[in-house]
């Protein structure tokens, strides 16, 4: 399952916890699954698969083990978005001031 954007991918709290775990240290699949005793291993495995397919986890082989690493790049898209809107609104509110001034400026 490859999602078009990152929002839906991280809407799931388990996935967010997995990423948070992996930002502390790279972990093999087994170790990740052990951290979620209430969730079946196949379910955890599926979350990891979705995260991998969406670029939030990279997998590297080290000997026989396959380690999962968190990849933060796709998340930057979101923080950029908020920053962009903050800039957008500041500009537009300036324009609103200009508009009002032009429309209602005192005559004479």
């Amino acid at each position: 399952m490859r999602e078009k954007d990152i929002f839906r991918v991280i809407a799931d709290p388990t996935r967010r916890e997995i990423i948070s775990l992996l930002t502390q240290e790279a972990m093999p699949m087994n170790a990740i699954a052990e951290r979620f005793p209430d969730i079946s291993r196949p379910a955890v495995s599926k979350h990891v698969k979705v995260l991998t397919e969406n670029g939030l986890i990279a997998i590297h082989k080290d000997g026989r083990e396959r380690f999962c690493h968190a990849q933060l790049k796709p998340l930057k898209e979101i923080s950029d978005w908020v920053n962009q809107y903050e800039q957008f609104w500041n500009e537009k509110l300036d324009h609103l001031g200009d508009y009002l001034k032009q429309k209602y400026s005192k005559k004479g």
Binding site: K4, D5, F7, R8, I10, A11, R16, E17, S20, L21, T23, Q24, L72, K73, L75, K76, E77, I78, S79, W81, V82, Y85, E86, W89, N90, K92, L93, H95, L96, G97, D98, Y99, L100, K103, Y104
Partner: protein
Amino acid sequence: MSKAIEISRFYPYSSDKVWAALTDPEALSEWLMPVEDFQLKLHQKFRFKTKPSPGFDGIVHCQIIEVDAPKTLVYHWQGGGMKQPTTVRWQLKSIEDGTVVKLHHSGFIGVDGWIIKKILTFGWRKITRKKLVAFLAK
């Protein structure tokens, strides 16, 4: 896990004048973005259309969800790529020599809120946090 933008501005004009600028399609097209189908009534759907840019098709789908003239106007705001609508809330407050406009744009499902929460929950290694901060600041 959501982040909001809040901006307050003072304009030396009455709230009726500011309200008109926020609710007149011609005015909106002039200072905000060209707008289609805007009508000041509850549940009205309308669109802002502007130049497309990378990652944005130039269309913002909106729907009015609250109107209380001339004080409050709230609409959903769903730009290209947003899976869920965000919420834009305008609040006007009359003061002696003008109007304070408060803009609140919320509902961005984002990384900032939950990353901070997770930092608190898990106690990230300094190196990771430094890397992360440096990364997000790029």
